[in-house]
């Protein structure tokens, strides 16, 4: 086997050093009746054969459709330099930087990532990342419960249903009371219901901007309401939109989370992704996950280390702020390289590009007489169309024209069977959008 470098002769020498005759003797603690001697698995293959086989599997997936599918996971352009950096094996074959002096590369990159996300969200402190945008909300909710010592969770139904389902599974064993608040008619969070639910049992209010339907809003008033009742506000964000949209910091939220996939990570059938989490300075000791801090070495030179570790499982065990051990360091590195390349002005430009394409697509699509706008709120790069027929049929028919038209919403919202969520990124050209509009017009 090529990944074991010792020869039979070397193994024999090593066994002789141990005073043993066979490798089996090393396994003598395992009762022989427990040993397995047969495994129903394929025999090993050469790299050449495996490559051929896996390329064959890849070709069974269809990825050459024009993509208007979003739902929180977007087909953005990834500059080549991102992969050039993340494929450096000094980074990707390292582990959690326990030995800071030989891990300054990863540590400084995480520190820079923490800084970049804090600047993007205009929040104080960011951790070294969590698994994904969904589990990040769960961690944020558990954090809010710890801080407020309350157990009622108020969730806007326009928070991604994919994430709400995860939160419900997490909450099942923790005796949380969770209230899902239906979205208002205009696509914005329903102020009235939320206000009535915000009592002195409420640990947190969970919101999303842009919300799952693509609607954008200023949530400052809700943050103020929540704070009046002593509860925290958790806001799930879409980082690209923050190139132009009002930031979580400006809206005065307590914890911002988000899915970092759009920041230079491929769609990769659902992962690995990147869970963003950022908060106010006063809550940093309740934060889950790794955090990197700046310090100095013995000569006073700047360096970076993992810090505030007394929050974490390897020290606090069952009393830790979370069970999380890893972070998504390589994905955080990709996001940092991406944000560095795109830069201060580039991110604004990119966000405006996405927004312009979405405005154009929406305007043209709504000119098809039988299509209605579901929500009247302003949007960023995604919007809901109300179709005259089942959205599944529409998507199905357009697949034949090599268009992934969007996400039918009936699967997630019972009363939205005819609704379809359409997303735009900078990658969609006017020609593709026009083709989509014409094709949709033809089938309706």
């Amino acid at each position: 086997m090529p990944y074991i470098s010792n020869t039979d002769e070397e193994r024999a020498t090593m066994l002789a050093e141990l005073g043993l005759n066979s490798i089996e003797e090393l396994f003598k603690d395992i009762p022989s009746e427990l040993m397995s001697y047969s495994f129903n698995l394929p025999t090993g293959k050469s790299e050449l054969e495996v490559r051929h086989f896996v390329k064959g599997l890849a070709s069974k997936n269809v990825t050459d459709l024009i993509c208007f599918l979003g739902g929180g996971f977007y087909d953005h352009f990834v500059p080549a330099a991102v992969g050039a950096i993340t494929s450096r094996s000094e980074f990707y074959t390292a582990y959690t930087p326990y030995q800071a002096e030989v891990s300054q590369g990863i540590l400084q990159s995480i520190y820079e990532y923490q800084s970049a996300i804090s600047l993007l969200t205009e929040m104080d402190i960011t951790n070294a990342s969590l698994y994904d945008g969904g589990t990040a909300i769960c961690e944020a909710v558990m954090m809010a419960v710890r801080i407020t010592r309350r157990k009622k969770i108020i969730i806007d139904e326009a928070v991604s249903p994919i994430y709400r389902k995860i939160l419900h599974s997490y909450a099942a064993n923790l005796d949380f009371e969770s209230i899902d608040v239906p979205v208002g008619k205009d696509g914005r969070a329903d102020r009235k219901i939320i206000e009535s639910e915000l009592d002195n049992n409420a640990a947190c209010l969970v919101l999303q901007n842009p919300n799952f339907f693509g609607c954008i809003d200023d949530l400052t008033d809700l943050a103020d309401l929540a704070h009046k009742s002593g509860s925290l506000v958790i806001l799930s964000t879409y980082p690209i939109s923050l190139g132009v949209l009002k930031s979580p910091g400006e809206m005065n939220v307590d914890i911002a989370t988000g899915e970092g996939q759009s920041l230079g990570l491929g769609l990769c059938f659902g992962g690995p992704y990147l869970g963003l989490m950022t908060t106010r300075s006063k809550y940093v000791r309740q934060m889950p996950g790794r955090i990197v801090g700046e310090t100095v070495d013995k000569n006073g030179s700047r360096g970076f280390v993992l810090t505030l570790q007394t929050r974490e499982q390897h020290i606090r065990r069952e009393k830790a702020t979370s069970n999380i051990c890893s972070n998504e360091a390589l994905c955080a590195l990709a996001a940092l390289v991406y944000l560095t390349l795109v830069g201060k002005h580039g991110l604004r430009e990119l966000a405006e590009l996405c927004s312009a394409k979405a405005s154009y697509a929406r305007e043209r699509l709504l000119k098809i007489p039988v299509i209605k706008q579901k929500f009247e709120s302003p949007i960023f790069n995604e919007f809901v169309l109300e179709l005259p027929i089942d959205a599944e049929d529409v998507v199905s028919k357009l697949m034949n024209k090599k268009i992934m038209a969007g996400l039918p919403l009936g699967h997630y919202y019972k009363n939205m069977k005819n609704c379809m969520l359409v997303a735009l990124s900078e990658k969609r050209t006017k020609k593709e959008i026009d083709f989509f509009v014409e094709s949709l017009g033809e089938i309706l």
Binding site: M142, F269, G303
Partner: protein
């Protein structure tokens, strides 16, 4: 090194986007826009490449250095696994496609990867079925403990506690706590394995499960493991296998045969996927037949026409624990790894990892205290107590190793060994590398008597000296600001 923010010069750009080709501008109302630009760096592509390439040169990885970090299984990661994720049709596949009408048909290759990997893992661990969804080992533990709760609830019971040995990883008790359990710790006996008498005293009708790493974090296989499993089952409780140390028994022993009911596997340890500087990992969870109903949604099934599909209707399931199907990119690498290694390779992995560990242990035991002098599995723990008497601690030895081009072993874990140094060489390292490491460890042991100062002030050769962790924690500086 300067931060990338400190290299920023107004007006520089690292990437150019296409001109806007649609006639309208976006119509975001001003009151919904941010006041100030996010102060991201302004640098060129070359500046970016230089900055991050230089950072990479300040980092050790398995590809650059021996990395005997105990409990982490830092084996070599075959490059073909990295390549596969870049293939068109895999890395660029949208996760919501299966939710579209007939969507499964557009993702057959990816679903096959998920299905077959779960089948391989079931066979390797002796489980009935796997979920590939958990996004890391600790996430797998949480998923497992959620299933434990669901299992007991289905039998009309709400058991309160989970038993965990004192040598366990911190994630075990932390995961149990998030699933709502009380944690009861069992001490280890003089042989370094869970004390069975103490265990039996604690085991009762309130015990939901027993969570074990096997071999344990001292690298020892508990010969009484079957008895522990039987007692646990007699009490109506479940056996949870933390797969952190699966590398030691790969192709030799199926945890299912021992009586484990739930298993999580760390693909980034055992199945050759890189650790990524701390992630992404992947922690699939397997269960015996009686727990299959509780597995998370969705599940990949193989239909009678040999096509693959996602299914969602499982009323007893613990629900969704991740947005999609797991860390697909990581799972794909592990799948490729298993195809390369094959059934005959698995046992070779275990054999060579155990041989390498025992070889180092034998060579070091007259220089360092070996608290449990017994044949080890894939890793072992020595202690710097002898050296501590002379003023040198485990951390000093770790830092001194860095000077010689070795990553340090895990130190101060497991918690039950004073001044612990936990060494795991893995199967991929050669005798030549092990011999060099042994020589340096012996050299350091001698330095304790001859030139202590050089150890206590290590490292010396890295361009950075020992970092002040206390200052970092006392005066937290956690970000750059303009």
């Amino acid at each position: 090194m300067k931060l990338v923010f400190e290299k920023s010069i107004s007006g520089k750009r690292g990437v150019r986007f296409p001109e806007c080709d649609v006639p309208c501008a976006g119509n975001i109302p001003d009151k919904l826009k941010r006041k100030n630009y996010a102060e991201l760096p302004e640098v060129s592509e070359l500046d970016t490449m230089r900055h991050f390439t230089r950072l990479s040169l300040h980092n050790m990885g398995v590809d650059t250095n021996f990395y005997p970090l105990g409990s982490c299984t830092m084996k070599y990661n075959p490059k073909i696994c990295e390549e596969a994720v870049l293939y068109k049709g895999l890395g660029d596949l949208h996760p919501l496609i299966p939710q579209l009408p007939d969507g499964n048909k557009f993702t057959q290759g990816a679903l096959q990867v998920l299905y077959e990997t779960s089948q391989f893992l079931s066979e390797i661990t002796g489980m009935a079925e796997f979920t590939m969804q958990p996004l890391a080992g600790a996430h797998g533990e949480l998923t497992g403990t959620m299933m434990i709760a669901a299992y007991h609830a289905s039998r009309g019971q709400k058991r309160k506690k989970i038993i965990i040995p004192d040598s366990a990883h911190g994630t075990n008790p932390a995961s149990a706590a998030i699933a709502g359990y009380e944690v009861v710790s069992v001490p280890s006996n003089a042989d370094g394995v869970m004390d069975i008498d103490e265990f039996e005293k604690i085991l009762d009708k309130e015990t939901a499960a027993v969570m074990l790493t096997c071999p344990n974090t001292l690298g020892l296989f508990n010969p009484q493991i079957k008895k522990i499993a039987d007692k646990t089952h007699e009490a109506g409780s479940l056996m949870y296998y933390d797969g952190a140390n699966l590398n030691a028994i790969l192709g030799k022993l199926k945890p299912g045969d021992v009586g484990f009911d739930i298993v999580h596997v760390n693909l980034h340890k055992t199945f050759g996927t890189p650790h990524g500087g701390g992630g992404p990992g992947s922690g699939p969870v397997g269960v015996k037949k009686n727990l299959v109903d509780f597995l998370p949604i969705s599940r990949v099934v193989k239909k009678s026409d040999k096509t693959y599909a996602l299914k969602y209707n499982y009323p007893s399931s613990i629900g969704y624990i991740a947005p999609f199907y797991g860390n697909f990119g990581v799972i794909l690498k592990a799948y490729v790894y298993i195809l390369l290694v094959g059934k005959e390779g698995l046992a070779r992995i275990a054999e060579n990892s155990v041989l390498n560990a025992n070889y180092i242990m034998k060579k070091l035991k007259s220089y360092y205290h070996l608290p449990y002098a017994h044949t080890c599995m894939h890793e072992f723990v020595i202690s710097a107590v002898k050296q501590k008497k002379n003023g040198v601690r485990a951390i000093d030895i770790a830092k001194r190793l860095l000077d010689f081009g070795f990553h340090a072993p895990t130190i101060y874990f497991p918690l039950i060994v004073d001044e612990a140094i936990m060494i795991e060489p893995t199967e991929t390292e050669s005798k030549q590398t092990l011999d060099k490491f042994i020589d340096i460890m012996i050299k350091i042991a001698k330095e304790v008597d001859e030139n202590q100062e050089i150890i206590k002030t290590a490292p010396h050769n890295l361009g950075i000296s020992r970092l002040d962790e206390v200052k970092a924690a006392r005066e937290p500086k956690l970000r750059w600001a303009k």
